[in-house]
């Protein structure tokens, strides 16, 4: 390998006859005057001077080329490989043309490939095309993870890719971008597994109900049991909001998450919600006011003049008080607030609190919060504000020398579909808190991992704060444009984005100072719904057929005369609701599958066991 052609201080062409170049490979250029320089292959071409790219040339005669092959010469082996190499750090002068180029030993490029200590890092996968360099690596860095490619599982042969957890203090937030099927979910899973390995407290918002870490992948060389390291909560089922602790701001956010509030409603809430309100006291007040507004002052006063039961009297008195106090609030606003509140209540949100979340986090666990996306938005607004505030208060207290504050650990917040939580150009309940954390979370040790397939739809302030970006295959031109703008990804790499195989990604991080091409490792665990819907249908069908077969076996042979009785008995034992017609259809299907035998007789069809 040697440098050829016109050179510059930052870019050269390297040619080789023996070796094909691979994109993102690191090479050492041995410049006689400037010493060894490290460069990265950004473009790779092969050229065969005997097979020119011209029409009308006689060299494409396949017969002749084949004949030469039989004589022992393969024209395709006579090719020249040319790579465009960008220097990682600019040289002082243009590189000397003709100087030798070779692949680096690991120690020469260690600083470019590995950052920080291995014990403190997240092992995300391998750095692509580093096999030869990896061969000279110390043994305890070799084969650290399983890789999966083209249907095969194998130990990595490349240099491992680590993301230093310590560097989060400097570069706190990670963006994970990629279209569907790009391997983004796998990537997110790997990140979460690694975070769990370090027992770093984390919260994961999971609108897809897929973040489950207790099922191991099949056939992997090393299993990891994460069941003790994470805890899954469903909103309304296990966790919720303690109404009493809701600030007015939180309450407004919650209500508006159900459906946006009008100005009148917002000011109504501000007036109606009192400090120390429970769900019951607040909803009673709303309902009573609503009734009072419907009845009107006249009716209430009239009713009070009549002889009423003491409880009724009390109610009317209260209505009158409310009416006097809140005379400016229109009825529709009160009604609007009421139904929103009821919907929140019905979801179970107010029946629980977030204590279990905090407990799990204190234990260094990953908390997975599941729920439908609207509820997740509502809830996470409350949850994130709450725990972020707690962490901030602790940290601020520590700075001011007050040690009385209760300890709350630093933590990571992760979510998929992040563009729903911090959308560009429109408001969302969560946007405020996410933006706040993006901007000043670093100070308090609160970090974000935001995944989305639409980086263009993510709020720009948030995107700008994502220091490390992991970019999987992206096809949309607008998203590629956003990515190019927001990262140090090179033009050549941006062009490759639509073609990246699933699981391959570029990592753009200020820590590395360049874009690193990686392949994400195979996760230890798998998502609960990786079963193909087609398989699911087939399995279900076979199961139900077998079940039916079991149920009818005692009644075989079935024929016209005993059909009605058979239906009755089968329904009794199998718990199904067959009619004569539907059972007949089912039996026909079984005959078709060869599980039953059908015989014609003068008295009609007889269904027999297939073995007979």
């Amino acid at each position: 390998m040697q440098v050829v052609g016109l050179t510059t201080p930052h870019e050269v062409y390297v040619a080789s006859k023996e070796r094909k170049f691979r994109i993102n490979e690191l090479v050492v250029i041995e410049d006689p005057y400037q010493g060894n320089l490290i460069g990265e292959v950004v473009e790779s071409n092969s050229y065969n001077r005997f097979i020119p790219l011209s029409i009308g040339s006689g060299l494409h005669d396949a017969d002749v080329i084949e004949s030469l092959k039989h004589l022992g010469y393969s024209i395709s082996e006579d090719e020249i490989n040319i790579a465009k190499v960008k220097l990682l750090t600019e040289a002082n002068f243009p590189i000397v043309t003709g100087c030798p180029v070779r692949l680096p030993a690991f120690d020469e490029v260690r600083g470019y490939l590995l950052k920080g200590k291995r014990e403190d890092a997240l092992l995300l996968g391998e750095i692509k095309n580093t096999e030869e360099t990896a061969a000279t690596m110390e043994d305890d860095l070799k084969g650290l993870c399983d890789m999966y490619s083209r249907g095969k599982l194998y130990k990595t042969q490349n240099v491992p890719f680590f993301l230093d957890l310590r560097s989060f203090q400097q570069y706190p937030h990670i963006g994970v971008f990629g279209g569907s099927g790009s391997g983004k979910s796998f990537g997110l899973r790997v990140i979460m597994e690694e975070i769990m390995k370090h027992r770093f407290p984390a919260i994961m918002l999971d609108p897809h109900y897929e973040m489950e870490f207790s099922e191991s992948q099949e056939n992997i060389s090393e299993t990891q049991d994460f069941s003790q390291y994470f805890k899954k909560f469903q909103i309304g089922e296990h966790i919720g909001v303690e109404f009493k602790h809701l600030s007015r701001k939180d309450l407004l956010a919650l209500l508006s998450a159900v459906s946006p509030l009008t100005d009148a409603m917002s000011s109504a809430v501000e007036e109606l919600h009192l400090h120390g309100d429970t769900y019951l006291s607040f909803s009673d007040r709303l309902e009573l006011l609503s009734e009072a507004l419907e009845k009107g002052r006249g009716k209430i006063e009239q009713a009070l003049k009549q002889d009423l039961e003491p409880m009724e009297k009390d109610k009317y008195k209260k209505m009158k008080e409310l009416l006097e106090k809140y005379q400016n609030i229109p009825l529709p606003s009160v009604q609007g607030i009421t139904w929103r509140l009821r919907r929140l209540h019905n979801s179970g949100l107010f029946s629980h609190d977030i204590k279990p979340v905090k407990e799990a986090m204190m234990q260094g666990k990953l908390v997975v919060v599941q729920g439908p996306i609207w509820l997740l938005q509502v809830f996470s607004t409350y949850l994130l504000s709450n725990i972020y505030r707690q962490r901030r208060e602790y940290k601020d207290g520590e700075l001011q020398g007050q040690t009385a504050q209760e300890y709350f650990p630093p933590f990571i917040i992760a979510t998929d579909e992040a563009h729903n939580f911090a959308p560009k150009g429109r408001d969302a309940a969560t946007k405020g808190i996410i933006t706040e954390i993006a901007q000043e979370g670093r100070k308090y040790g609160v970090f974000l991992v935001l995944a989305t397939q639409r980086p263009t739809l993510l709020d720009e302030t948030v995107t700008a704060q994502l220091n490390t970006k992991i970019i999987f295959r992206t096809v949309r031109a607008s998203d590629i444009a956003t990515i190019s703008e927001e990262t140090d990804i090179k033009v050549e790499e941006a062009r490759r984005l639509p073609y990246l195989p699933s699981g391959d990604a570029f990592v753009s991080s200020p820590l590395f100072g360049r874009t690193v091409a990686i392949r994400v490792r195979y996760p230890y665990t798998r998502s609960p719904h990786t079963q193909n819907p087609l398989d699911e249908i087939q399995i279900h069908r076979v199961k139900s057929e077998d079940k039916l077969l079991e149920a009818i076996k005692p009644h075989l042979p079935i024929y016209a005369a005993n059909f009605a009785r058979a239906v009755e008995e089968i329904n009794k034992t199998s718990g199904q609701q067959y009619e004569v017609r539907t059972l007949k259809d089912a039996l026909e299907t079984l005959v078709e599958k060869g599980k039953l035998k059908k015989q014609s007789s003068p008295l009609g069809d007889i269904y027999l066991e297939s073995g007979i």
């Binding site: 017969d63 002749v64 080329i65 030469l68 004589l71 024209i75």
Partner: protein
């Protein structure tokens, strides 16, 4: 369109017409065919493309080696000329490297040339010698079965007699077939024999002129024994769709291989190409000394100042 001088245009048209007339003097292709056969000048035959088996049978007996040479001279006034020569013998294989023999000459260092022509003649002979040397070295190195040389075998006999003798006897002793592949046919064997039957204008017509378009693709004309130079056999062949034939020389002693050689050359020639076996084209490309290399060497070893000294004025034309 360029404004041409009227008289120049007329003169040009006249010359062009005469040129066209000369080709028209040629009898029809069928007549020519009959004349060639009847006069016993040669026999027409068909070549066949060899299959995998045939090729493997050749390889079993030995490799196929191609030999070619290249010359490049610096531009300058005699005797301020440097000539670079390179001959290459390359076996048809990916595993073995080629044999390259190089030489650099200049009338300055050799001192005994009275004229530029004399020097040119020497250069020509020297290249032939280098090519033969490469072929001899290839016999030792690769134990080939067939050696394809770029150019007529007769040329080697004339230009490098002692070396040629060595190559010939080696080839005969080891039963290695020497094949000369002639791109530009300059012989006029056919017109010589048909003198009485041809119009005067084409009495001295070259063989390629006579055979242009006459042969079918894959067809050859084997010139009868004794008509060609002593000690050699030759045949003309249309090895591709290009209507201009190529010539193939063999040693007289090896004429039994004529059919086999014809088929082999035909097999190795791209049918849409110019008619030269691909292997020789590949070697040609590898051996060629480009002007760039020449310039580079000159400025490196002679120095820019001396390059300036020998550079002729005509090289500095601006348009």
């Amino acid at each position: 369109m360029l404004d041409l001088d009227i008289s120049l245009k007329q003169r040009f048209e006249q010359v062009a017409n005469e040129m066209r007339l000369r080709l028209k003097q040629r009898p029809s292709l069928d007549t020519l065919r009959n004349m060639i056969s009847d006069k016993g000048i040669g026999t027409f035959a068909k070549c066949h493309r060899l299959g995998k088996k045939d090729l493997l049978r050749i390889v079993e007996r030995g490799k196929i080696v191609g030999v070619d040479g290249s010359t490049n001279s610096s531009k300058g006034h005699f005797p301020y000329v440097i000539t670079l020569q390179q001959a290459m013998a390359k076996p048809c294989s990916n595993d073995e490297s080629a044999i390259t023999i190089t030489d650099a000459l200049s009338p300055i260092t050799m001192g005994n040339f009275s004229s530029e022509e004399e020097y040119r003649e020497f250069v020509k002979r020297n290249l032939a010698g280098l090519e033969v040397k490469a072929a001899v070295a290839a016999i030792d190195e690769y134990s080939p079965k067939v050696i394809l040389l770029d150019g007529s075998l007769v040329r080697y006999k004339i230009e490098a007699p002692p070396l040629w003798q060595k190559l010939k006897s080696l080839a005969l002793a080891k039963n290695i077939i020497l094949v000369g592949v002639v791109e530009g046919i300059s012989t006029n064997l056919i017109s010589q024999c048909l003198k009485d039957d041809l119009a005067e204008a084409i009495h001295h017509a070259s063989d390629w002129e006579i055979l242009f378009g006459l042969l079918d693709v894959g067809e050859r004309l084997e010139i009868a024994q004794g008509l060609f130079k002593e000690g050699f056999r030759t045949f003309f062949m249309r090895s591709s769709i290009d209507p201009k034939p190529i010539g193939i020389d063999l040693l007289e002693e090896q004429q039994i291989y004529l059919n086999e050689v014809a088929n082999l050359v035909y097999t190795l020639t791209p049918k849409d190409g110019r008619g030269i076996p691909l292997w020789l084209d590949i070697i040609d490309k590898s051996v060629r000394i480009s002007d760039k290399v020449m310039e580079g060497l000159l400025s490196t070893y002679l120095g820019e100042d001396y390059v300036e000294f020998i550079r002729p004025k005509r090289e500095k034309r601006e348009f």
